[in-house]
């Protein structure tokens, strides 16, 4: 069942145009919206919430046109990046605030508070003011307030961006559990690619006010449909090489390459193109007899579980993710082989070939 549908929505600002946006978010889905800063992510949330009205198109909430509903009727709660907790209220008062405002009964409020304390493990901090809480605790109270409202959907705008890396990892899996155990619809906005990819059932990649791709994290990572998506998904980013297809369409040639690469599948004969390969899809060998491209190791980043090798290929630095803990001497000359099943090709307009 579709919980939120956005149909051809356009919102125009003096220096920025959002849309047209088309999206359908299912009931119970964890839907991620990822994009660089100022790409229009938060505007999409504000349109759903009713803080902004679309200039064109419409938003449908459970088969009703949202334009005919006011903010309260839309029944959507939002968790902001700055949490927006009331500093003079305790955790408990913050959580029940929306219920008190909507005139819920004492019994309903108590029940909801019990539920929220249970799922979010906040019983021990309910009496504290936000100033006395840690970042993670404040985070849980803000989520608790959104949960207590038991709304149609929850919109989360960079809700854990302010936390330390370790705590962010813990909170993101906690969020995922909460969402799934309670079968809630979550719309989650972040500029942190790893976070969105880890947490979402589906992801919309927003670039310059338009949706560049929608898909599962596996699809977006494995088959970015354009050069611009390829550039923003994956850390370290995909290696990209400018070049052209050979006239017979069988090879990709690039100035920096010591050899041309045979291409399996569709090509555009003789046209210029960009070839992309992710750092983990390149294999290094010191066997000069192996088919591959000549590279020179410039530095390594030993990350423990794997090693990032920075190597020069022609005029360019290429990043290679090697498994385990590898040692290379700086300046070592190696052969790099691209996993031919994992080569991404983009035409001169940046569309996936």
């Amino acid at each position: 069942m579709t919980a939120i549908e956005i149909q051809s929505v356009v919102k125009t600002y003096p220096e920025f145009k959002l849309g047209p946006i088309n999206l359908a978010i299912s009931q119970g889905e964890f839907f991620g919206i990822f994009g660089p800063p100022s790409s229009g992510k938060t505007s999409i949330l504000k349109l759903i919430l009713g803080l902004l009205d679309p200039d064109e198109g419409k938003i449908i909430l459970s088969q009703r046109n949202a334009a005919e509903m006011d903010v309260a009727e839309r029944d959507i709660s939002m968790v902001f990046q700055n949490l927006a907790l009331f500093p003079h209220m305790t955790g408990r008062e913050n959580i029940v605030f929306p219920l008190v405002e909507s005139g819920a009964s004492e019994a309903a409020i108590a029940k909801s508070l019990d539920f929220v304390s249970e799922v979010l493990h906040v019983s021990h901090i309910l009496h504290k003011n936000p100033a006395q809480m840690s970042g993670g605790e404040r985070q849980r109270i803000a989520l608790g307030r959104a949960f207590a409202a038991d709304s149609r959907a929850m919109l989360l705008d960079e809700p854990i961006a302010a936390l330390d890396a370790r705590l962010r990892e813990e909170m993101r899996v906690e969020l995922k559990r909460l969402q799934r155990e309670n079968n809630k619809t979550f719309v989650y906005v972040s500029h942190d690619e790893e976070e969105v990819m880890a947490i979402s059932d589906r992801v919309a990649v927003v670039i310059d006010g338009a949706i560049a791709q929608i898909g599962t994290p596996d699809e977006v990572y494995g088959h970015p449909n354009s050069l611009e998506v390829a550039k923003v998904i994956g850390t370290p980013p995909m290696n990209l090489f400018q070049g052209r297809f050979s006239d017979d369409g069988l090879f990709f040639e690039s100035d920096g390459f010591s050899d041309r690469l045979q291409i399996i599948g569709t090509t555009r004969k003789g046209e210029t193109a960009t070839l992309g390969i992710r750092p983990e899809d390149i294999w290094l060998t010191d066997d000069p007899g192996k088919v591959g491209l000549d590279v020179t190791v410039s530095s390594i980043e030993p990350l423990g579980g794997y090693t990032i090798v920075n190597a020069t290929l022609g005029q360019q630095i290429v990043k290679i993710r090697a498994p385990g803990q590898m040692q290379f001497e700086d300046g070592a000359r190696m052969r790099a082989t691209f996993d031919e099943r994992r080569i991404h090709l983009f035409d001169h307009a940046g569309e996936r070939v």
């Binding site: 890396a165 370790r166 559990r177 790893e194 990572y221 980013p237 920075n310 630095i317």
Partner: protein, 369 residues
């Protein structure tokens, strides 16, 4: 270039001890990262090296000499801060030339060095434009170039990459490393990001609550953490650290976990735990990539059973949260074979596991030097 000796340095602000009895030897030309969570004392330590703060106790020596009387501008230290400190009203050229002008370097020499640095940082085409017109990424290059151009003997960087987007951060990491190789300066780099520290530094000093937790090369720290804090802080995804009570049941040592599950200890990790008679509660550590599925590979490997609760895509891999009653184990789903809800058997190889005393946090066992 300078070596730096930090000797038993303590820094107090009123009743608050920001840095406690910290000692570090930084060799000439070394790239050292000060790594720790926010508020751990890493920036205070850097400020003391810079001369912005004076230690309450202890001394900081440069090439064996105490420079505490010396003014900051005479210490020949270069800075790069998180918030750039660029003169936005000046051109890119003037930003680069400023430090050299202050040092009264001859004009032709300034011009030569500015052009070389701009070239090095790929901002040559921007030299005549105001710095305010630069993108965030170019601004950061300018900030680094501006400090590097005066060839300071010590280069201090405080979270210089934290404002940048992930892709450019990865690129700048590699750039900084090359830069340091070229200039050969002693670099001290403050960060809370362990990936940054691992990828850049020759050595990492991990600081928590003002105390030095471990000092060593990145892989040394990763492979052989001396305490639970370091084990937890370094590595992404994080190491599994499973806390519980140690119990001996007729010769079978077990770690009893909260919620009723248990880890039957065996092999190396068992002897590590038994090496400390005082350990009643322990923490069992294993990195996600060392947990495996399928059939048993080693006689001592510890067999566990759990349910796949969450699967996350983390870069090229899928990370599985395996729930054993109330405890989570993180493991990589290398073959993309797991589904949420699956009941799975998995193994913990004892020689890749680590034992910690939960109350002191200390690593236990013979494998620790």
């Amino acid at each position: 270039m300078s070596s730096i000796q930090i000797q038993n340095v303590t820094k107090k602000f009123g009743n608050f001890t920001a840095v406690e009895n910290l000692s570090l030897e930084i060799e000439e030309g070394e790239f050292v990262a000060l790594l720790g969570p926010s508020g751990c004392g890493k920036t205070t330590t850097m400020n003391m090296i810079a001369g912005l703060e004076a230690p309450t106790e202890g001394a900081i020596l440069f090439d064996g000499k105490d420079k505490s009387g010396l003014r900051i501008q005479d210490r020949n230290i270069g800075f790069v801060f998180q918030n750039y400190a660029i003169f936005t009203h000046l051109t890119v050229y003037r930003n680069l030339s400023y430090g050299l002008e202050v040092k009264k370097v001859a004009k032709p020499e300034i011009e030569r060095r500015v052009r070389a640095m701009a070239d090095r940082m790929s901002i040559s085409h921007r030299l005549d434009q105001p710095a305010s017109s630069l993108s965030v990424n170019e601004m950061q290059k300018l900030a680094i170039g501006r400090s590097a151009i005066v060839e300071p003997s010590i280069f201090l960087l405080d979270e210089p990459l934290s404002n940048l987007d992930a892709g450019f951060r990865a690129y700048m990491r590699a750039e900084l490393k090359v830069l340091q190789h070229e200039f050969g300066q002693t670099m001290i780099y403050v960060t809370h990001d362990q990936i940054e520290a691992m990828s850049l530094a020759d050595k990492i000093a991990i600081i928590d609550q003002g105390k030095l937790m471990q000092y060593g090369a990145p892989l040394e720290i990763y492979n052989n953490p001396m305490n639970r804090f370091v084990a937890n802080f370094v590595g992404s995804p994080r190491m599994n650290l499973i806390d519980g009570e140690l119990r001996d049941e007729s010769g079978q040592l077990k770690l009893m976990l909260h919620g009723g599950a248990e880890i039957p200890l065996a092999g190396q990790v068992k002897s590590d735990f038994t090496s400390d008679n005082n350990a009643h509660s322990g923490s069992f550590g294993i990195r996600p990539q060392d947990i495996y599925f399928g059939s048993r590979r080693g006689d001592d490997d510890i067999e566990m059973h759990g349910v796949v609760e969450v699967l996350e895509r983390v870069g090229p891999k899928r990370l599985a949260y395996l729930q054993v009653l109330e405890t989570d184990f993180l493991a990589f789903d290398d073959q993309d074979q797991l589904n949420v809800g699956d009941e799975v058997r998995f193994f913990l190889p004892p020689d890749k596991s680590m034992a910690f005393n939960l109350s002191s946090g200390k690593r236990l066992g013979a494998s620790v030097q």
